[in-house]
Symmetry: C2
Subunit: 111 residues, 2 copies
């Protein structure tokens, strides 16, 4: 996982911040990986950045060309299953924010 490159503004970001329940072996890791693979195949997907620390706090930001692309991803059948399991099983709490990216600055001197 590294920094995402994205497109020209405006584009859209979904900021998903979450606190995991303390459980190992609950299938979360596999599902998270699968969801990232699936998202990358969606029309309008631009990139994703994701970090979780040892305390269970995580931030995932995905970038999209349009609100329609975000709505399509939200309605993806396999993703709907993951969303349900997230509420029932994996997350103690989360917040999801849909944003319009208005300015962007990248600093990658060694890139």
């Amino acid at each position: 996982m590294s920094l995402a490159t994205s497109g020209e503004v405006p584009y859209y970001a979904v900021i998903f911040t979450s606190l995991r329940r303390e459980q190992d072996g609950d299938g979360y890791g596999d599902m998270a990986q699968r969801m990232e693979e699936l998202a990358r195949q969606q029309p309008g997907f631009l990139g994703v950045e994701s970090v979780r620390d040892a305390s269970g706090l995580g931030i995932t930001v995905s970038y999209w060309q349009s609100l329609e692309a975000i709505a399509d991803w939200k309605a993806n059948a396999e993703h709907l299953v993951a969303q349900r399991l997230g509420r029932e099983k994996w997350y103690a709490s989360f917040a999801l924010r849909v944003c319009r990216v208005e300015r962007e600055m990248q600093y990658q001197p060694e890139g």
Copy 2:
């Protein structure tokens, strides 16, 4: 650090994703803590969420009432020093995105 509560949409988010250089004892931790304290004192500050993993990849999202509040924070004298040190010393790369938050959903069943 936990999930931020914020205000009614629309408000603004600054998504700062960064990759740290591998260095200990370079003053980064102290400065990061000081910047968060300072940001919380800024007019228009709504909240912040920040995660960095063991690989050095970090995402910090701060939330603000207006673009003016973000501009004022960017121009804060002590923050300007930190921004310069970030480029010179602490970060291998970073991206900064200024966004307008258009929709928000919180899930905190135990909150």
